[in-house]
């Protein structure tokens, strides 16, 4: 658990450092996610070398367990920031109604457009394969 968590934190640290150093507009943790992905690919491609070199918790599934534990409670992690936002709702006061309309309509449109595009393109590709 600790070894797995250490690797996850190290990936985030490296991600944050890279984001700051290069100035790319991607959050550090997202770069960390990409780095962890690279680690997983390399680890499984050279499984035998990895089993010999890496600490056992990184190869026996404990690392994945730590990740699953974090993701299972993703909702919880938005609570502190969200509670702070509630206190700042006054910034919405002046344009409150207009902003509420925009957020709801724009979010619905975005959800629908994204999902429909996904479904149409994947259907179109499948029909292309069948022909």
């Amino acid at each position: 658990m600790i070894v797995g968590l250490t690797l996850i934190l190290a990936a985030q640290l490296l991600g944050e450092a890279l984001a700051r150093a290069t100035g790319v507009p991607v959050p550090g943790p997202v770069i960390g996610m990409a780095l962890l992905l690279v680690f997983l690919v390399v680890r499984d491609r050279y499984a035998r070398v990895a089993a010999r070199l890496l600490p056992p918790p990184l190869v026996d599934g404990q690392l994945e367990g730590a990740g699953r534990g974090l993701l299972a409670n993703l909702s919880l992690m938005f609570v502190p920031a969200g509670a702070g936002i509630v206190g700042r709702l006054d910034v919405l006061a002046v344009h409150g109604a207009a902003l509420a309309v925009i957020v709801v309509v724009s979010t619905l449109t975005t959800l629908a457009a994204t999902a429909l595009t996904f479904v149409w393109v994947s259907r179109w590709m499948r029909s292309g394969e069948g022909a």
């Binding site: 990936a11 699953r68 993703l74 609570v79 920031a81 969200g82 910034v91 994204t114 479904v119």
Partner: protein, 238 residues
């Protein structure tokens, strides 16, 4: 009476109390969600935030005091984002097969999110500085605040709008997808992550692991694309 008060004064100043309050609020919210069969309106993020905010309001606790305790939970957002690599890796075959639909949906979704917010803001007569803060509303908080600041908006307002968008998306995604008869979990998850960032991703994970994996990808890709597109989109505003 004074004794009770002394205990309260002591406890309300330690991280322990507010960390516990956050966790209790979440456990209660999660129980409500489970009891209602994960009904979209019983979104645990929304319920837990409402409960926590109510406790803070009733006890007149400043947010800074609360955050001293809650920061331990808040901190985990970073590692949890990194951990999105696991479902992504586990479902890599499914993800790689869906590369073309994903990229198309990313481009369309990102452009629709930006243009719909800017157009509606313009039509409803919202001032430019507010519209600019509205532009990155579908992007994860940290990046959205950065985008708003760069473009001359208000980062705090941007953060509020990001959270509102997240909760709106988290609540509406399931009924909307059912109404549109979209049963493809990849498409549903991808849309949730793109339109409603981490809150949408959390919702997607509650519904389906594959949906969660796709939501995670969408969250990351859209943060990047919106940061690129927002300055261009805003330049169309007068």
């Amino acid at each position: 009476m004074t004794g009770d008060f002394a205990v309260w004064v002591y406890l309300s100043r330690t991280p322990l109390l507010w960390l516990t309050v956050t966790l209790v609020a979440y456990v209660v919210a999660d129980r409500i969600a489970t009891a209602t069969n994960r009904h979209p309106l019983a979104n645990p993020v929304l319920v837990a935030i409402a409960l926590t905010a109510a406790v803070l309001e009733v006890t007149h606790t400043p947010y800074a005091t609360y955050f001293e305790g809650a920061q331990f939970v808040h901190f985990l957002l970073g590692p949890a984002t990194v951990a999105l690599a696991f479902p992504l890796y586990e479902h890599r075959a499914t993800v790689l097969r869906a590369l073309a639909p994903m990229l198309a949906a990313l481009l369309v979704g990102s452009v629709v999110a930006l243009s719909s917010a800017l157009t509606l803001g313009h039509l409803l007569g919202v001032p430019r500085a507010v519209i600019v803060s509205l532009a990155p509303k579908s992007v994860t908080t940290g990046v959205a605040m950065g985008i708003a600041q760069t473009l001359g908006g208000d980062p705090t307002l941007a953060a509020v709008l990001v959270m509102l968008t997240g909760m709106t998306g988290g609540i509406l995604v399931t009924p909307l997808m059912n109404a549109l008869r979209i049963r493809d979990m990849r498409a549903r998850g991808f849309a949730a992550g793109l339109a409603a960032h981490g809150v949408g991703t959390a919702r997607a994970f509650q519904v389906d692991v594959v949906a969660g994996a796709f939501a995670g990808i969408a969250l990351g890709l859209n943060a990047f694309l919106t940061a690129m597109l927002a300055p261009i989109a805003v330049s169309f505003l007068r």
